[in-house]
């Protein structure tokens, strides 16, 4: 009986740890988000951001690349983002992940967001700076005015 009790407690502990582990992992892996942003009607409307990647000094090391994914909502124009650093650039249209294809290292990445035609759209950006192994490095961001 005593052994059973002990075994039950042990099971509870194992189950609890098992439940907590994925939550903790999800917290670590979760990207930064810029949710529910909007672009106005003009076809030329473009939002402009600055993402800064840096070494946190916690052993995770230097940044290799900026992970970024943009998603638009609704059936309107297609939303795209361009990532630019040191004369190199690539494009991401709704759903395409920008990652190791532009290994810009630590520093400032300029990101522009726009759409394929006139009309209102809303969009979300998921992003984080990553090292070679995909671990997080320091990530800051800000938007340049005006918010279009």
């Amino acid at each position: 009986m005593g052994f059973f009790m002990k075994n039950t407690s042990l099971r509870k502990i194992v189950v609890t740890i098992s439940l907590l582990m994925p939550i903790g992992y999800a917290g670590i892996a979760k990207a930064h988000d810029i949710p529910n942003r909007a672009l106005g009607v003009p076809a030329a409307a473009t939002d402009m951001y600055l993402f800064t990647c840096y070494d946190l000094g916690d052993g995770s090391g230097a940044t290799e690349h900026l992970y970024l994914q943009i998603s638009g909502s609704g059936a309107g124009p297609k939303v795209s983002a361009q990532v630019f650093k040191d004369g190199k650039a690539l494009n991401s249209t709704a759903g395409i992940v920008v990652g190791k294809r532009l290994n810009g290292g630590d520093g400032d990445y300029t990101v522009t967001v726009n759409k394929s035609a006139a009309g209102n759209v809303t969009y979300n950006i998921s992003f984080h700076c990553e090292n070679k192994s995909g671990g997080h490095t320091g990530t800051d961001w800000r938007q340049f005015p005006p918010d279009q």
């Binding site: 473009t46 297609k78 630019f84 494009n91």
Partner: protein, 178 residues
């Protein structure tokens, strides 16, 4: 009497020459919608932004991957107050859509604009878009909305406060993703 009659004739000829010249210019205007170009009989008001001449046109190609992007590095001369650009999709295939972005990343004057060509294989480019700045470096990106190869013509011009394209505009393809 003879002198007056002669004067009237000269004036009439001059008016006709001027009218004919105006009609010629309207018929060959490169700016505006396809409807305007086809309907040469209609006199349209002058565009707010003049077209860019061929010396500011450059050709390029994009490979099949969805994320590929050409980067044109643009050095603008003195008296520049803005940079204008537009792109023309010269490809036979309709999809994907082709876009151009002008960006100024210089501190304190960061700004950007986008222009997408809604149709392929015709002579009508995307709308002309403009960003502000001064003499120095700008970047122009050309990309597309999904996978598929593209060929294009991009017009890039640094302009002064009178909206005149400046001959000192220097555009170089520094990332060629064909």
């Amino acid at each position: 009497m003879k002198t007056t009659s002669l004067k009237n004739k000269i004036a009439a000829v001059l008016l006709l020459v001027i009218a004919g010249h105006a009609g010629f210019a309207s018929a060959f205007s490169m700016v505006g919608s396809k409807t305007i170009i086809r309907n040469t009989a209609v006199v349209t008001p002058p565009p707010s932004t003049p077209p860019l001449s061929s010396e500011f046109s450059h050709t390029g190609a994009l490979g099949p991957d969805a994320w590929v992007t050409d980067v044109w590095t643009v050095d603008c001369p003195a008296n520049t107050v803005h940079l204008d650009t537009q792109v023309n999709d010269n490809s036979p295939a309709a999809a994907p859509l082709l876009s151009v972005q002008a960006i100024n990343i210089r501190g304190g004057n960061e700004n950007a604009a986008n222009s997408t060509d809604p149709s392929n294989g015709d002579e009508a480019p995307s709308p002309l878009v403009s960003i502000t700045g001064s003499a120095g470096r700008f970047f122009v990106l050309v990309d597309k909305t999904s996978a598929g190869s593209k060929i294009y013509t991009v017009n890039i011009a640094c302009k002064n406060s009178a909206n005149e394209a400046l001959a000192g505009t220097k555009a170089t393809l520094t990332q060629d993703d064909n």
